[in-house]
């Protein structure tokens, strides 16, 4: 409080030394207000709605009987197959909302607005991380909602394995947190927001997927790949889940397809969070506004 501030027109205001936790909430709300009005949010939600609606439309066109037959008369099988695409949306959301979450402070004037406030940088990062996670959850929530609608339409509400579906959504949230950890780390490392988004998409989607396929050709389980871990979202609902299956390619040649178990997937995701989130905090704290 500045008690003598009458000449500037200020009435005495009481400023309370608020906790880091309270500031974290303030930053989260501030960041969320921003994210929810960005074109990238509307664009991504629109993209998810388009894909989900088209999928549902084609299935409805095929008819209830055909879909039931194709999905072995199991709604869990239907949901498991439907959710295979979730990883792509999570990666895109993580890149869009995490890929430039920190680099924006060092390449635009946003940093000169926020970094001069009495907020510790880890608190700023944590607020942005929480906001990005909530927005990502909103995006994948839309996709899951369409899946639930499809399952109810084709199999009836009573046949939908709600506990497993929400369990899968929980796995998707942890997957989103791990993808965001990588995106934040990239964002803390690079200076250009566009580069941050691109590198995140390339690393998480193109890079890991290619690496995973290459390793599977060599018969090696890609246990360190985040995209491999993301398979756990669908695996939870897969009633005929197999950890790996070997497919013959030719004479004495085999190709092993690996699928992460839920426990394995969660462990990999937790590992990514444990490594990349502290690393992004460290890099963000060390970074200087030299521009």
């Amino acid at each position: 409080m500045n008690p003598a501030s009458t000449v500037s027109g200020a009435l005495p205001v009481e400023r309370v030394r608020i906790s880091d936790f309270q500031q974290w909430i303030i930053v989260t709300v501030h960041q969320l207000q921003h994210y929810l009005r960005t074109n990238r949010f509307y664009g991504l939600v629109g993209f998810v709605v388009l894909i989900a609606a088209l999928t549902l439309a084609f299935e409805i066109d095929a008819g209830v009987a055909a879909v039931r037959l194709q999905q072995l008369y199991r709604s869990s099988e239907y949901l498991s197959n439907y959710l295979v695409n979730t990883g792509l949306f999570v990666v895109l959301a993580a890149a869009f909302f995490g890929g430039d979450a920190l680099s924006v402070d060092f390449s635009t004037g946003a940093g000169y607005y926020m970094l001069v406030l009495p907020i510790r940088r880890p608190v700023l990062l944590a607020g942005r991380y929480a906001a990005a996670a909530l927005v990502t959850l909103a995006v994948i929530g839309v996709y899951y909602a369409f899946g639930a609608v499809g399952a109810i339409y084709f199999f009836g509400a009573s046949a939908v394995p709600w506990a497993l579906l929400f369990g899968s959504l929980g796995v998707a949230i942890i997957f989103a947190l791990s993808a965001l950890s990588v995106a934040f780390c990239v964002s803390a490392f690079v200076r250009s927001p566009t580069a941050g988004v691109l590198i995140t998409v390339l690393a998480l989607y193109v890079g890991f997927t290619t690496l995973q396929a290459t390793l599977e050709l060599a018969g090696i389980e890609p246990w360190f790949s985040l995209s491999y871990a993301g398979g756990a979202m669908a695996a939870l609902l897969d009633t005929d889940f197999v950890h790996f299956q070997t497919v013959p390619l030719g004479e004495d040649q085999y190709y092993t397809i690996w699928s992460a178990t839920v426990a394995e997937g969660l462990a990999i995701m937790a590992g990514y969070i444990a490594v990349f989130l502290p690393l992004s905090v460290y890099l963000y704290q060390r970074k200087e506004s030299t521009g």
Partner: protein, 309 residues
């Protein structure tokens, strides 16, 4: 009352030469300190070091006695800083942008609203519901300046606060700073010597990362004798009338048909004589010192400062 201090401050971006070399100063009483220097002198670097946006190569910076590298939250708690061009998110409206600042500084919702209203009045801000992305550059800059004032911090660090503003906005901000300096400590970097002399009580001149002069404004102003005046006549005057002034002036340059720029020895006696001569040419509506830009001030000040050291 707040304070700021830099002590033996050095900043080097390897492998280059130091941007700042052994800069030291401390202020702990209300008033406005002008921080002057040409581009690249190290003004903004000093401000960034003060708020912890940069890490010193050597030395220390303190805000209210706290090193921002050690305790950012504590150091910045009672400080408002406008450095470079702060940009709130363009998707937020003016109120939301300022609300986050006030809440982060520990104000209640009611106090934030009161503070936002106060800043709205002080700085003639655009409507609070307007999005930042819709605002003009000057409006955005005033919002950024308002962000430094929300919560009424006692120390204000301002990096060229009037650059990019139109003349009316500059007058508004200068007036505000003149009021604020009575109970706030302000460090204000600028290129405009005349502007700084209007607002500040003391000046720090920086050149090539070193403090070359530090003095009271009135003493510095005394050393910089403006040697040019702009004369505006009531009606157009022919250039052929200009030799009339050469009895007292060193040179007369017609700028327009009604305005001349007159160079003289800078003394008060000659100034009075010149005014009399001008009035013989035509009725004078304005007779004012030419705005002294920093470069000219440097030509005056830096050699003298070097001689002094």
């Amino acid at each position: 009352m707040g304070s700021f201090e830099v002590s033996g401050l050095w900043k080097t971006y390897p492998p280059g030469d130091p941007v700042l070399s052994d800069v030291s100063f401390r202020y702990d009483r209300p008033g406005a300190i002008g921080y002057l220097g040409p581009n690249g002198a190290g003004k903004t670097t000093t401000l960034k070091l003060l708020v912890g946006l940069l890490r010193p190569t050597r030395g220390h910076a303190y805000l209210n006695g706290i090193d921002p590298m050690a305790d950012r939250k504590g150091a910045l708690w009672d400080v408002g800083a406008q450095i470079e061009t702060p940009e709130p998110y363009p998707t937020l409206n003016v109120h939301e942008a300022l609300d986050a600042v006030g809440r982060a500084r520990g104000l209640s919702r009611d106090d934030v609203d009161r503070e936002v209203d106060r800043c709205h009045e002080l700085l003639d801000l655009p409507p609070l519901g307007h999005r930042i992305g819709w605002l003009s550059k000057g409006q955005r800059q005033r919002v950024a300046l308002a962000a430094t004032l929300v919560g009424d911090p006692s120390v204000l660090l301002l990096d060229e606060p009037t650059s990019g503003l139109d003349p009316a906005e500059r007058v508004l901000v200068r007036g505000l700073l003149n009021r604020l300096k009575r109970d706030h400590l302000i460090l204000m970097s600028s290129h405009q010597m005349l502007e700084v002399t209007e607002v500040c009580d003391e000046l720090i001149f920086l050149n090539h990362g070193r403090v070359v002069l530090r003095d009271k404004v009135d003493r510095v102003a005394h050393r910089i004798r403006p040697r040019q005046v702009d004369v505006e006549f009531e009606r157009p005057v022919p250039p052929t009338a200009s030799p009339t002034l050469l009895a007292a002036a060193e040179a007369v340059t017609p700028v327009t048909d009604r305005r001349w720029r007159v160079t003289f020895d800078g003394s008060d006696e000659t100034r009075v004589r010149l005014l009399g001569l001008c009035q013989k040419v035509a009725p004078v509506v304005q007779f004012a010192n030419t705005s002294l830009v920093l470069e000219e001030a440097y030509l005056e000040l830096v050699p003298k400062a070097s001689e002094a050291t």
